[in-house]
């Protein structure tokens, strides 16, 4: 760490070149534009997210929240501007970035004809998770018993969502990008998600959540971005500085 940037509180213009040290920003977007067809879903957005934060993306439908999450996952090309996520340049290193993030989109990314257990095991296998980790993930989401043997197609929307979250746990991501993670879940499921996200952040992962659920996301978030018209209108809430979560390693990574 260079001492020059010390007092500047990770000034926005600072060049984030170099290895990702704990206090380095995990996501830095500068005037980023992402295009869906001809439509600029993100119209020049600039944000900085630090390690260990839980960022709540708030805004009306069509504001660009989903696109922002997909851009940060390396799933969409950057049309204009610059961006760097987990030390990877969004223009050139999306291949390297994608395995480092965990995404929960609108859709669950499940194979509807396979059982819950098969789905979680498959997604665990793709990232090399051990069988015990997969079992633990199923257990944690309350999918371990009878449900695990049912095809996903026969589950309710909430149960499918739980399965997707179990798949997400089995993957040890450094950056969690969640689009409406609470949708379809009952109260207990929502509590599970909240606890999970807190634990992930405490153990050094970074979380970005797009949500319309104020009473859920509000208490959870350490920073809030108001997204509207494909840009950030403002930041609010108890935005933590880099120093506040300086050393997440002691929390361990028990997931």
């Amino acid at each position: 760490m260079d001492t020059v940037a010390d007092g500047a509180d990770a000034a926005k213009g600072a060049d984030p070149v170099g290895a990702v040290a704990p206090a380095d920003p995990v996501v830095v977007l500068d005037d980023a534009v992402a295009v869906l067809g001809r439509f600029p879903a993100l119209a020049g957005i600039s944000i900085t997210v630090h390690r260990g934060e839980i960022v709540w993306l708030r805004g009306p439908n069509g504001a660009g929240k989903t696109t922002l999450l997909r851009l940060c996952a390396g799933l969409l090309p950057l049309a204009r501007g610059t961006g760097r996520v987990l030390g990877c340049d969004l223009a050139t290193e999306r291949d390297r970035l994608r395995p480092l993030v965990g995404v929960l989109g609108h859709r669950n990314g499940l194979y509807l004809d396979l059982t819950v257990a098969e789905n979680v095991a498959f997604w665990g296998d793709t990232v090399g998770a051990a069988a015990t980790e997969v079992a633990a993930a199923l257990e944690r989401l309350g999918l371990a018993d009878r449900l695990a043997l049912l095809p996903v197609r026969r589950l309710s929307a909430g149960q499918q969502r739980r399965t997707a979250i179990a798949c997400l746990i089995a993957r040890r991501a450094e950056l969690w990008l969640l689009d409406e993670p609470h949708s379809g879940l009952d109260a207990a499921g929502r509590d599970d998600v909240d606890a999970l996200l807190r634990q992930a952040a405490a153990s050094g992962a970074t979380v970005m959540v797009a949500s319309h659920e104020y009473e859920r996301a509000g208490p959870l978030a350490t920073a809030v971005f108001d997204i509207r018209g494909g840009t950030v209108m403002g930041t609010a809430g108890g935005s933590v500085t880099a120093g506040a979560v300086a050393s997440p390693r002691d929390a361990g990574r028990d997931r």
């Binding site: 090309p77 995404v103 989109g105 669950n108 990314g109 194979y111 098969e118 498959f122 793709t126």
Partner: protein, 226 residues
């Protein structure tokens, strides 16, 4: 996670989905069978049918290939699994091989069924001397069609109008397999020429399989990338 293990994981997953949903078994195979029966109605000439049976088998395979390729990518896009695969760090070449292996297995089963149907419906018979040629053509044809189908299926998967784009892209490309496999099977079944005449045709099919296997391994990533 080695490359081979990933490819195998994908192949196993695709075959497991097929085993659970039985779409190929319950819908595509009967479709191919009914195509054979319809050819029988349309041609209505036993001697002619016997001599063109190999061609009809390959044409029915081509039609079924289109349906199987669509299905192979529909199960990825049904619930957004393609994005999940991309963020799981699955390399595109491993994905290509995995899906090709699964598709080749289904095609091999399908062609075996169609050959049996040709024997039953059109009166074709397998010469003992032609059996090795038939098996070699069967395997290389299945692999060639599977690789080229996966390659172009992946390109069409995310596109508007994919149902119509896929045949437009795929059918001109598979012409060498259609020609080569038909001639080789004709030789093997004794519909035309000697068995020895069939081997160069099998070679053509094998060359096709190798070319598109290599081409697909290299090209699949850029084609499906957004």
């Amino acid at each position: 996670m080695t490359w081979w293990r990933t490819a195998w994981l994908i192949a196993r997953r695709d075959l497991l989905v097929e085993w659970r949903s039985r779409v190929a078994l319950n819908q595509v195979f009967p479709f191919a069978g009914i195509v054979m029966v319809m050819f029988g109605f349309a041609i209505d000439d036993t001697r002619l049918m016997e001599s063109i049976a190999p061609g009809l088998v390959m044409v029915a395979t081509m039609f079924s290939l289109l349906v199987l390729v669509q299905r192979s990518f529909a199960l990825e896009s049904e619930d957004g699994a393609l994005d999940a695969l991309r963020t799981a760090g699955v390399s595109s070449s491993a994905l290509f091989w995995g899906k090709s292996i699964a598709l080749a297995a289904q095609l091999a089963a399908l062609q075996a069924l169609l050959i049996v149907l040709a024997v039953v419906l059109y009166g074709s018979s397998v010469r003992p001397a032609g059996a090795p040629l038939l098996v070699a053509t069967w395997l290389s044809g299945s692999w060639g069609l599977a690789t080229v189908g996966t390659l172009y299926g992946g390109l069409a998967a995310g596109a508007r109008g994919r149902e119509t784009l896929l045949p437009l892209l795929l059918l001109p490309v598979v012409a060498p397999v259609l020609i080569g496999a038909t001639r080789a099977v004709e030789a093997a079944l004794g519909a035309r020429g000697t068995v020895v005449d069939g081997w160069p045709w099998m070679g053509l099919v094998a060359v096709f399989a190798v070319v598109f296997c290599v081409g697909g391994t290299l090209a699949f990533g850029p084609l499906i990338e957004e």
